[in-house]
Amino acid sequence: MKKSPVCNPEPAVNIVHNTRYTTGLLMFLLVGLFFFSLMVGRLEIRLSEIWTFACASLFGTPVPPELSSKALVFTLIRFPRCLLAVFVGMGMSISGAVYQGLFRNPLVSPDILGVSAGCTFGAALGLILPGDSFMLVRVLSFVFGLAAVFLALGIARMIAVSPILVLVLAGLVVTSVFSAFLMILKYVSDPYNDLPAIVFWIMGSLNRVEWNDLYIIMPVIGGGLILIHILRYRLNVLSLGDLQTRSLGMNPTVYRIIFIMVSSLMVAVTVSTCGQVCWIGLVIPHIARTLVGPNHSKMIPVTLLIGGIFMLAADMLARSITAAELPVSIITALTGAPLFVYLLYKNRGSGWI
């Protein structure tokens, strides 16, 4: 938890007013940006054409032959990609928010705790193992992602001094261990077949997405978001600490495990679909907190919306600036990192870290 209600200087009424206003504005922005990004790309697609394609897919009206190539690009490449960007952005930023609330530590996120590194290693292992099972890659990614969180938690608990700092350090340790494992995999793998596949996978991009991926991503991330949204008040309770949680009649261990499992699952499906996307999980919850305060019941929906907007915008730039595709992590890191520094500066001395 960043600020307890006691040290929160803003009056409650103001925040309630702000929250409604902010949430509404963000929702409007997200929808607007979504439609805008459907039109932007290497192939120019106009709003009227989108209407034609939408009618064609919904009611089966015929598409003029000169538009058939565009229709395929729109329905099978661009639309699923924009949808994926929104889901990935929401999933990553919410898992960041959950981790930060859960561990009462503003400096953690799936990348910092080693979850992303664990998921990446699992995915690479799945690629190397014989058999061409797509599911294996995802399952291993999830298993090693979870292993990474629990390893980081275990190390931090074992050391048990200065929990905020130690958890970050433990995450650093876990990240480098899994990076080393990944390097071993790359070293022993066949340079002609496995290695290019792993490198391609890790580089991460949303450009491979197809509807098949979305059939997995949408229920997993969508379900996770709904569950966390419903349980978001419990995060407030958990962030008070175990003793208070118990005295309020809630079993902290059960909820903690639920939250960790759900958010790690979201990270795992993201990593196994589009590789590592940096910074979103760390920065977006902080932006949300700056806007509407630390109360999870308000902050979770705002995080969700900003995450979707941010990722959608980043991917839109990545796929349309040049003929070659920019890795989306370049954009998220280059915008996320300075933003984080700014937030650190702005919130200095407010008990934020």
Binding site: R42, S69, A197, F200, A323, E325
Partner: protein, 314 residues
């Protein structure tokens, strides 16, 4: 003598103990008929089938590491080579200077284009004391190139086909305008779809692929097995190369002709034949390939069990 990084190196004039540190260097040495002078190679070279077919003893030679994971300098020095062929990227130049300081002649070669492939052959042959051998190989290359240019030079601009080349990092990773693959496509009379890109292999979006609308797709053999599915993807169905099923894997089964080596000349011939079959009806591809291999390796392609392996099944 001066190497391809502009370094001046003193060589004995007849190198007898040669070490190669990357695949194009090894293949160049073999095509000059200098296989039995090799005392060590990089770890990747013996995995190229043609290398072990030409020189089976290569698998048993000491390995000095490789370009991507680093080399073992002590192994190199302990083998007392009188010529080490190094790459220009990464730590190549630094290593060459260190070796030269310890009295071991080290030469940088940079085969990245048809011209520099020939230049590399000349430099190696000179250091090994057999410059006439380079002339023979270069003549063979020029012969193949003249077979191609005689049939594609007159192609009007609107008949030139656009080719999309997919590199080893995946189907949507393509060769930029300053890579060998771009030059090979244009020598074969085609136009590289990614010609305007700069740098190394570049990743593109599927949208960009549709927009380029290539007439043919060439893929490198690393991704051959995973390419067939793109022929069936509905989102690419309107692309000319998909409609016409013009997907090919760059040969061959025993050496990648789309990467720098004297064999790249055969890659150009093959590409031209696949792009403009009508203009090459009089050219027997396998016969030309066999002749070329005979000159370079004293054994024909067919004798070595070579196969084009260029089809892609959906």
């Amino acid at each position: 003598m001066v190497d391809m990084a502009g370094r001046t190196v003193t060589v004995s004039g007849r190198a007898e103990r040669i070490i190669t540190t990357f695949k194009p260097a090894t293949l160049s040495v073999l095509s000059l008929g200098l296989a039995d002078r090799l005392v060590a190679v990089d770890t990747h070279s013996p995995r190229v089938e043609i290398n072990t077919a030409v020189y089976p003893a290569m698998s048993a030679l000491p390995k000095i590491g490789n370009r991507s994971m680093g080399m073992n300098l002590e192994t190199i020095i302990s083998l007392k080579p009188d010529l080490v062929l190094l790459y220009a990227q990464k730590d190549g130049v630094i290593t060459a200077d260190r070796l030269s300081r310890s009295g071991i002649p080290a030469i940088i070669i940079l085969p990245e284009s048809m011209a520099s492939i020939k230049a590399a052959l000349r430099i190696i042959a000179q250091a090994a004391g057999c410059p006439e051998r380079a002339d023979t190989v270069i003549q063979a290359i020029d012969h193949v190139m003249s077979v191609v240019s005689a049939r594609t030079d007159g192609l009007p601009a609107q008949q030139r086909k656009t080719v999309y080349y997919a590199g080893p990092e995946g189907f949507f990773s393509t060769a930029s305008g300053n890579m060998l693959q771009d030059e090979m496509i244009s020598l074969a009379g085609g136009i590289n779809a990614g010609h305007a890109l700069a740098g190394f292999f570049k990743s593109i979006s599927p949208e960009q692929f549709v927009q380029w609308n290539p007439d043919a797709v060439f893929v490198c053999r690393e991704i051959r097995s995973s390419t067939g599915k793109y022929l069936k993807k509905p989102q690419l169905a309107e692309v000319s190369a998909v409609k016409g099923k013009q997907f090919f894997c760059v040969p061959s089964g025993n050496a990648p002709w789309d990467f720098p080596s004297p064999l790249s000349a055969l890659g150009v011939l093959w590409a031209a034949k696949r792009l403009y079959p009508d203009r090459f009806t009089d050219v027997d591809l396998i016969k030309e390939i066999d002749q070329f291999h005979e000159i370079l390796f004293s054994r024909s392609f067919t004798e070595m069990g070579g196969q084009l392996a260029d089809t892609i099944h959906p």
